[in-house]
Symmetry: C2
């Protein structure tokens, strides 16, 4: 069996035989890139159907899973979402306008801004999380749960090799 990445590697071997021995990383990185893009589109569509931008979706789930008091600083989001500070300001502005989160000035450190999930934000998140997970299960249905767990173990090893060992 072969996929799109096999085809790409085959093209390189034909056109640039001098690179043949150096192509092995493409087998992993090329596939991870493709899978990342496919999944991003799927989840973006899911979020859009609920009137949410993907980044907003991210903020809501990050807040809910953080547990009481359901608030995190803007900086914490920046790191969790791997985006710049401008993007976070922008997201929170939009979400505050929608009533999903509210800004609370930290009393100890007045530079910091805590983003708190509102009651409405809580309801919205609770409402879609189950469907979201069902959607992800659907995506992996053909691949199977067993295969998923095997694959997950290897992906964990790779993330560790990249030093991605914390959500902070």
């Amino acid at each position: 069996m072969s996929d799109a990445v096999d085809a790409i590697i085959g093209q390189w071997e034909a056109e640039r035989p001098d690179l043949t021995d150096a192509l092995w990383p493409v087998q992993v990185i090329g596939r991870l890139q493709r899978l990342g893009r496919i999944l991003e589109k799927e989840i973006k569509t899911f979020a859009a159907e609920r009137g949410l931008e993907m980044g907003e979706f991210d903020v809501l789930t990050t807040l809910q899973r953080s547990g009481p008091p359901y608030e995190l600083t803007a900086g914490a989001f920046r790191k969790a979402a791997m985006v710049t500070s401008g993007a976070i300001t922008n997201r929170i502005d939009r979400m505050e306008a929608k009533g999903l989160v509210e800004r609370v000035r930290d009393t100890d450190d007045r530079r910091a801004v805590k983003i708190r999930l509102t009651e409405r934000g809580h309801e919205v998140t609770s409402a879609f999380m189950k469907d979201h997970l069902a959607n992800e299960a659907r995506l992996l249905a053909d691949f199977g749960r067993e295969g998923s767990e095997e694959l997950a173990a290897q992906l964990r090893r790779l993330l560790e090799a990249f030093g991605d060992t914390s959500i902070k």
Copy 2:
């Protein structure tokens, strides 16, 4: 050992125990998303150091590996790069201004536009491909070549499950 995704799943189990049985897809999809973002940033940085946008980088490599006559239609790029038609027009405009590619009207089908790699585009691509692959090998160095091949086999299975079996 545990990574950022293990931490995320742990948070969900604590905050939403009702979802525990449905969390298994996150082990795969959460990790693929994180890896995708990490790799995207790495390659974006590599391209930027050579004065290229990531999308431009993509066009150059797609053209070179396609072999003689090093030309493809705009539509072929749209599909290969998984982006919209507007993005392709934009990319080609920029790259044409840089002298990396040129537009050639197809004589058979005059709706179609062939994008052809110029001599200069060829040189630029040849110049960075070796470094690009070395950079990817560096990223996977800790994970190892053997582990990479194992992982690649499973990722291929997953891509096939998603129906990603062609570069067309």
